[in-house]
């Protein structure tokens, strides 16, 4: 699990000269790992994913010290070669399964074109593969579903179709951008279980983008917490939940009720304020306006501190500050 599949180092994404959506975010997804990217809406999670896929809107500009996938430099890759990689080695599914499938074509034709594009497979072969995958993602009567149009399927089925479509070429990495947010709670659980199963069985690396920490705890090997375009803390799941270092991570965790740990009469935590929209050139810690530990030095550059071999965070506070601070 140590081979790096996706390496993102100090990625920056700007839209025009008005918004800096991602400000030097770094993360590494190992082969076969489920890496969760967590954060509030608007913190830049989706933009980071789209930047990796080179799917940014026309005004979006990306730059990074390093952006490598399976040893290939994505920044140096021409658009055509990148398109060849997408859908083949690197797949992505989205939040809205309802609008993410083309209403004009059947499920089958949309799945088949992936294999035909990347493998040049004959129609019949591609069709067999599509049937197989629809079965694999738990769709009954896959042969019949192939001939159906997206509007004839439920939301959960559509997301399964999206997943199956993403798997057509057996990718190494699947980026799932809030794949369950738009779905019913029961369906959410099914889709998650499906993703976890696929990761186990196929050795698939998954970058799962979510704002749902409960979900993270269940499936992730590693978690990166994103705030205002930066990764403020990154750690193995157990370490993060056991000993979060960044005040923002702690705030996030305080928002999640844990059965047995939270007393009935104790109010749930909440982080006051919202994620700020930052201009290019912003200095210092972006969380300082909402942070209970803010100090004058937070306005200047903040160090990235280690809290163990595979755990680091972005804050002026020392790694042992949690112990020094009396529990709330």
């Amino acid at each position: 699990m140590t081979e790096a599949l996706l390496e993102v180092d100090r990625l920056r994404v700007e839209f025009g000269d008005e918004v800096a959506a991602v400000r030097g975010a770094s993360l590494t997804v190992a082969r076969g790992e489920v890496h969760c990217l967590v954060g509030e809406s608007g913190c830049g999670k989706s933009v980071l994913a789209l930047a990796v896929m080179n799917l940014l809107a026309r005004r979006g500009r990306r730059a990074a010290e390093r952006l490598r996938f399976a040893g290939r430099d994505l920044l140096a890759l021409p658009d055509r070669a990148m398109a060849r990689l997408r859908g083949d080695r690197l797949a992505m599914i989205f939040q809205e399964p309802t609008t993410s499938l083309n209403p004009a074509y059947t499920v089958g034709s949309q799945m088949i074109e992936v294999l035909r594009r990347h493998r040049g497979a004959p129609r019949a072969v591609a069709r067999d593969r599509a049937v197989e995958l629809l079965g694999r993602v738990g769709i009954t009567a896959p042969g019949m579903r192939l001939g159906q149009f997206p509007h004839q399927l439920s939301g959960g089925l559509r997301q399964r179709v999206m997943i199956a479509m993403a798997l057509m070429c057996e990718p190494d990495l699947l980026i799932a951008d809030e794949p369950t947010t738009a779905l019913d709670v029961t369906v959410q659980a099914q889709i998650l279980r499906l993703l976890a199963g696929l990761q186990r069985d196929l050795g698939l690396g998954i970058l799962l983008i979510t704002h749902d920490l409960g979900l993270v705890a269940r499936v992730a090997h590693r978690v990166s917490v994103m705030y205002a375009g930066e990764i403020v803390e990154s750690a193995p799941t157990a370490a993060l939940f056991a000993a979060p270092r960044h005040p923002y991570t702690r705030g996030l965790l305080a928002c999640v009720p844990v059965p047995g740990k939270v007393r009935r009469d104790q109010p749930l935590g909440a982080i006051p304020g919202v994620v700020p929209r930052l201009m290019p050139g912003f200095q210092g810690c972006a969380f300082r306006a909402r942070c209970g530990h803010a100090a004058p030095e937070c306005a200047s550059a903040v160090p990235r501190r280690p809290a163990g071999a595979t755990h680091d965070y972005l804050c002026r506070l020392p790694a042992d500050w949690v112990r020094l601070e009396p529990a709330a």
Partner: protein, 257 residues
């Protein structure tokens, strides 16, 4: 005697009632001038007008769909603005005047095409171009806005995430969806074009129903004029129904609903 023969001695409302009753079974009476059944006259001229309409629509589609796609792909750039200016120019061009200019340039100066008349396919080229001008602005704008909407949609993001080629994304995925309203409007537009072809047929002396109607108005041959109005109105109604059917074929969501 003539007044009686044509029933002109009766009140207008009775005349009109008689005409409607007969027209319902395809009997439009007899032309005062041509001394011929109106239905035969129109039947002989209608194919020419329909050909002109289809040629015009085909030229309009060939010009405006690529222009609209181009403008959408290059949204808010100089190219987009240029396409919109072209649409505005098309909208402001008086068709009869454009017809005369084409006649001078291609008919006389270059002598590539016949100036007027009916007969060969060359006779349809200039009138077709002029007629196309009336549909190009609307079709271009519609293609553009449909494509802009389609290109911003989630399924285009999916298509890109699947690594499809830009041609496949643009044509197969975006244009296919953008085309649904365009085809519907184009069908209805054909109805307007047939109605507007009277000016162009007259300019180019192309002997379709429009030219027939113009001649007949000048000769007070009202059975013919009434019949042409009715036929064009019916064609328009037929085309709107056709547009609905084409929509149902193109949009699977309407098919099963």
């Amino acid at each position: 005697m003539i007044r009686r023969a044509y029933g002109l001695d009766q009140p207008v409302i009775v005349q009109f009632g008689n005409w409607v009753a007969k027209a319902a079974v395809g009997d439009f009476g007899e032309s005062y001038f041509f001394k011929q059944r109106v239905s035969e006259l129109i039947g002989a001229r209608l194919p020419i007008t329909l050909t002109l309409g289809l040629v015009g629509l085909a030229i309009a589609a060939v010009v405006s769909i690529p222009l609209g796609v181009l403008a959408a792909v290059r949204e808010s750039t100089a190219i987009d603005r240029a396409v919109q200016v072209v649409a505005l120019i098309g909208q402001a061009m008086p068709s009869f005047w454009l017809g005369l200019i084409l006649m001078i340039v291609f008919g006389i100066k270059l002598a590539w095409l016949p100036v007027s008349g009916t007969g060969t396919w060359q006779h349809y080229v200039m009138p077709g171009i002029v007629l196309a001008f009336s549909a190009i602005p609307a079709l271009t704008r519609l293609t553009r806005s449909g494509m802009i909407q389609a290109l911003a949609s989630d399924y285009i993001r999916t298509a890109r995430a699947k690594g499809l080629s830009s041609g496949s994304i643009l044509i197969k995925h975006a244009l296919r969806n953008a085309a649904i309203p365009v085809v519907a409007i184009a069908t209805v537009q054909l109805g307007f074009m047939l109605g507007g072809s009277i000016v162009i047929e007259t300019v180019f002396a192309l002997h379709g129903v429009g030219f027939l109607a113009w001649e007949s108005i000048g000769k007070n041959d009202f059975p013919v004029v009434q019949a042409v109005v009715l036929v064009l109105a019916l064609i328009y109604v037929g085309l709107t129904l056709l547009a609905d059917m084409i929509n149902a074929v193109l949009d699977p969501r309407l098919r099963s609903a």
